[in-house]
Symmetry: D2
Subunit: 436 residues, 4 copies
């Protein structure tokens, strides 16, 4: 976790105190249910909740100190709680194993993190939608291979991003469901010393579903799927970030990250305004992607479980969710304040001498009876002249002078092919598909 | 693709001829619809389908030769079809771009591949279920950290695997839906030269859904999600493979890959019977995982598209699906024929002098009024003696001689704690959860 | 391996026949040495070499057929050779284990592959150097963050690439040394049944060094280092490929991949000339990087060895080396034929109204006594006007009209700061550092 | 960075204060040299060093506060220093760019981190060597595929680990040299506003070599190589960790992590002693490997530079080095205190009824005139009986009863083949190769 790439709400989920609070709730719910089942005295659960009702401070330091001696975090915690609550606390954790607590807690934390991320995605989607509608018909050149292709609108670019992040949201919901399970099944998961109804009870209280079969641990294919999903979202962040970086290039400059008064682009070159936020997002996306790998390697635990996943999750649990939260918020901010330059878009589109309309002429020639190959050759030979003139020659002019072309298409027919609005007749259709 | 790790049905999907057949179908369906819309003569689609009805051989060599000259695969293909069909063929591909064909074809191929993989998973699930039921009550030791923990059954181990691969199946279905989309939207995806109804028509014919917004290409976040899902499945394969490798270790030998008559385990050591199939699967899992990475990097194409994804997909499209198909089939075979040794399982379980029952004694002491800490200390001090005796001392014997213990629990109470069946009372519950 | 991304010399290394030839040589050298040591009859080695001298065809089919029955590749091979050579062949492989042959063979193949890759790098370096010298003083804008910064020369860009690939060459040499080791140490590597002098003899004959301690297998940290090194080289390929893709963008167009007569850039848009080779290289780089991952996971084999590395290496051995060979050759070709447009470079540099000289003015103001902060503010306030005018205003003009500026610097002093050659005075120094 | 996996010396390198100290030194050395060159007044450098000699506290908070306003870290720092030092400070950073400071600082930090890691490796190597010598002739079974193969010694296992980490040390030295370079070349690296002699001077003072050609930034192929090297080392850590985890398995129990008095292996099962340190190392190895990926993606910066690498390096710079330092120290500790059980090693070796000697019998039969195939068949048919008896039958007994065998080998000859010391005759040779 890098502090400058962290926001407080997400960070709070991963603080020791937050973790211990979830631990307590799981233990207390379980003890309460065990009391109901007659396994432990009903007074045990009550004692725990009574203490909890005093809103006690969790003394992280004291628990850590115990762990240093006991070399076992859950036992250290139970010991500390026992000191606070008194003898009734000895019934806590009856028939449970540490992993029941740890894994269920991780499920709660990842579910909470997912809720923040889902809200982040909502914010991002809202920002994209607003800008997409604003620029629904702002004409700009579509580029394939970095080369001018045919006209699109800036709104269409954003509609694509919207559809992509909307898919990301659906994926994240599915991923949240993957990891939001509760296991209270005891050592090696047989429920030998704890009734399955305890698991059901705790799951319900903690907002989780029941893990159908656990083996002391919740199976890590769930977490592999979860962090892989975050990696896919990171890819989509990178895509939009790179789009903006491209648009801000000096020669393109069709859009620009907001540049605050007082900001300095470069210590050496006072003229610079750099797309640093989206470059920064590009790097963060690389990190979030990288965190999926160890999650995938975590799946193959030995037998009923080993603990190799644990050190990995101490890193990627916080790092992947905190960084993704930050990145989504930063991207939302970038989209929200993005400076968009429609005149420059138009100017760039015009600089190729009308080459961007070459396909329409090709199609018209085909429909006028030329073979596809002939039509291609006719258009290409004029297009290459325009290309080599660096946009000083105009394709329409050259076509009008090409007798093989004019034999097939009249001047008027040719001129019609250079109409920009022709390209936007289905923008509405696409917007309806994307925004409903 | 490594031929020895490839099966014919999956490989066939990725053969050039199969690809060209899909290309033709997409082009012919589109031309037919364009005829209906009056954009091209209705005779064009008919000419294509009439030729197709003659069941023509696709001359891959001839098309490749054209591509070498034209340096463009789709144009090479269209030229070749035009030579076969005659002048009506010039209306093919009207208003379309190569990516309309290529991306929709990849969607069809990945959907077909998914169908094979889903059938593979069904076979695997059936094999696991059969063996799970066979060994529902075969007692074996559960191990955490590679160390004996408490008893489970071999059926429970397999139930866990079943639940895991059942999740994998659900994930693969979702992943299939992700990539099974059709884009026929023309250059940069605006439908400028092709009506959206063509896309809908072709999608329906090819069994795909419509891509809401494409930008010449189908967005690659879909493929990133797809290959990431395959990577997660690979992780689950690795988990079960490693379980079997562990069980076959000389000192454990609770299960063993089937060893065929005539097979040689080692060229140098005639006594060897090695778990080579599951080791092999471990390596394949690493490969399938690795293929997710470039798919994730493919998401951030430049602007409306660049073609960097293409070379990646020429590798991972075939390699990931072919290898996963092979791995699933191999794993099914391993599970199906797995030699299981219940006596050895029992013998291993017995070798720890009853240590595996330590938790029950701990719980009983707690319920008899000991603090958790005292109870732990009492059990641990006897358990460590057993541990150090390498199983020659029996925990029950030592406990009976420990006055602090016997002050709390009678001999009979102690003996009850060493009952194996106690651990299996919820096997039915878990099986019902997993197998329904 | 994707056939279209494969060249014959590299592919040949990985053909079954090539592998079997190396197997034979290792076995024959070992048998010869064993004869010398008196372990086997000297006639055995002679019989093998006599047969070899007849230049026999390796019947791959027959060996494969045997493997299908025996399920062991080396035994299948030995059986086949024995059939060809006669009874003397039974002394082959004495005291050896399959891995002695397989791992030493992989070492030979990777060393051969490295030699091709080193030659590829030499070709690439030569092409870069030639173009660097050609464009040593071709002025172009240096860009940070995609934004115009200050002038560089196109030769300097290539000098950077040269230095980078020169480092890659040094790394590849080191990586070659890592994997070029020979292990003939018998089962579990103790030399129990084979004298260490055999290993030394075979190593010498095969051009390898001796593996200090093998454990039946050559340790896989060597291969992890090897494939990681290829991954780094792939990163450098991607960097140069992306540079060229940027330079070919419509709005930049300072350089362009060679476009062959008859080539079609797009099936739909006849005007397109796309940087498809460098985009293709970008994708290949992603693949080569991905292959490092399973190599890293291969390191932790179980105990003296397991065979999980083997399936991985059947993929990445050929795929990584063949693809890298192809990519290096393709990049060399791109550099060699790259179309470079110095006029366009100059035009682009001029479009920012002289902003690229802002730093020099800043420094001059500082030296004229302004605080750094004041100087920055003075330059920035004029620069931002130029920036917002889209290059229609000239920085020099505005500075001349800014009284705070002219109070510190005379017109002549200001004009001097806009001299292009000022930036190139150390090009020679840098070229001397890079090219020697 | 996870605090529990961090040690203070390594962590200190990455503290803000440490970074600012290096920044200052670079700026002050450069200013001093610029004074010598007459570019700035010699008093400027003196003023900086005079202030530095007062051992001033770096006010991280104040600098951070400035950065929040200026959105530029280096400018914020320069402003703060200027406030401390006075007007002479305005000559700092003359002709330099932020990256000159940032990249050279990262080089210093990574070089310092490398020195700690090299010392860690020395400690680890010393521990391994000590234990290797201690157990040079401690017989244990060598295992391939997890199956008993032939005898080795525990010292040999450790000798392998020594050789592997010795290679890691050589690789890390090479990687350190890769990143220990200094760039003070100004915006876009042309030295336009700063003489190359400044770079040489600062490099010398900071213990770095000169970067031959920088483009504002030090090229990131260097860092890709660096972090890839750390990933390889992580693989070797994982290998030894997994070896120990295997050896501690209940059924094997040939070695064990030290178990401290008062330690609890499981909250639920008082009998457990788990290899948690090496499991923990396994997870850390996964993380360190993962950090290589974004470093590889960082290579392809746009043009002269973009800043996407920066956010990545804020993570992986500290996280990879801190975690590796911790992991190496933890592994050293594990090796140092490892409990080794030679009797158990012997007992395990004995449990296979002498199968581990099968190869020697095979070789003897071959030398007695049997074909390899016949010999293999004879040994295998007896070995399989022993295998299936679970070690209750003895191979030597069965061979003595097999008439086809005894026709070729006498009882005495057979017995000789079951001698353990036979396998250790080259232990000295291997130790000499490894330890010199």
């Amino acid at each position: 976790m890098v502090p400058r790439y962290a926001r407080p709400d997400m960070t709070a989920i991963w603080e020791p105190e937050a973790k211990y609070r979830i631990w307590f709730e799981i233990e207390a719910h379980a003890t309460e249910k065990l009391g109901e089942l007659g396994v432990v005295p009903p007074s045990a659960g009550k004692a725990l909740w009574d203490w909890w009702a005093t809103n006690p401070k969790i003394d992280v330091e004291a628990i850590d100190e115990k762990e240093r001696i006991l070399k076992h975090d859950v036992i250290a915690f139970l010991d500390w709680v026992a000191e606070q609550v008194g003898p009734e606390a000895r019934f806590m954790h009856q028939g449970m194993t540490s992993s029941d607590v740890l894994d269920t807690t991780l499920a709660v934390q990842l579910a909470q993190a997912s809720d923040i991320l889902l809200a982040d995605l909502d914010d991002l989607l809202a920002a994209i939608k607003r800008r997409a509608e604003e620029h629904k018909y702002t004409a700009t050149i579509g580029r394939s291979h970095g080369i001018h292709a045919e006209p699109v609108t800036f709104g269409l670019k954003l509609a694509q991003a919207y559809a992509e992040f909307d898919r990301c949201k659906a994926r994240l919901k599915a991923a949240r469901a993957e990891i939001a399970t509760c296991a209270i099944s005891g050592a090696v998961g047989t429920f030998a010393n704890i009734d399955p109804s305890v698991e059901e009870y705790v799951a319900g209280k903690m907002g989780l579903s029941v893990e159908p079969v656990s083996t002391q641990v919740i199976p890590r294919d769930r977490h592999a799927m979860y962090f892989s999903t975050l990696a896919v979202i990171a890819g989509s962040i990178e895509r939009l970030a790179i789009e903006i970086r491209h648009l801000q290039r000096t020669e393109v400059l069709e859009a620009e990250e907001y540049f605050a008064p007082g900001q300095k682009g470069s210590s050496a070159m006072p003229h610079k305004r750099n797309p640093i936020l989206t470059e920064n997002l590009t790097g963060q996306a690389r990190m979030i992607r990288a965190y999926a790998l160890p999650a995938l390697e975590n799946v193959a635990l030995w037998h009923e479980r080993d603990i190799s996943h644990s050190s990995v999750e101490r890193f990627i649990g916080p790092d992947a969710t905190i960084t993704l939260d930050f990145a989504l918020a930063r991207l939302t901010n970038v989209v929200d304040k993005l400076l968009v330059y429609p005149e420059r878009m138009q100017a760039n589109m015009d600089r190729m001498g009308g080459l961007i309309h070459s396909q329409r002429v090709l199609l018209a020639l085909t429909q006028a009876g030329k073979t596809r190959d002939d039509a291609y050759r006719l258009v290409q030979r004029n297009a290459m002249k325009v290309w080599e003139s660096d946009g000083r020659l105009m394709l329409l002019d050259l076509l009008k002078q090409d007798e093989e072309v004019t034999a097939a298409l009249s001047e008027k027919e040719l001129e019609e092919k250079f109409d920009l609005d022709y390209h936007f007749k289905h923008v509405d259709t696409i917007f309806a598909r994307v925004f409903g």
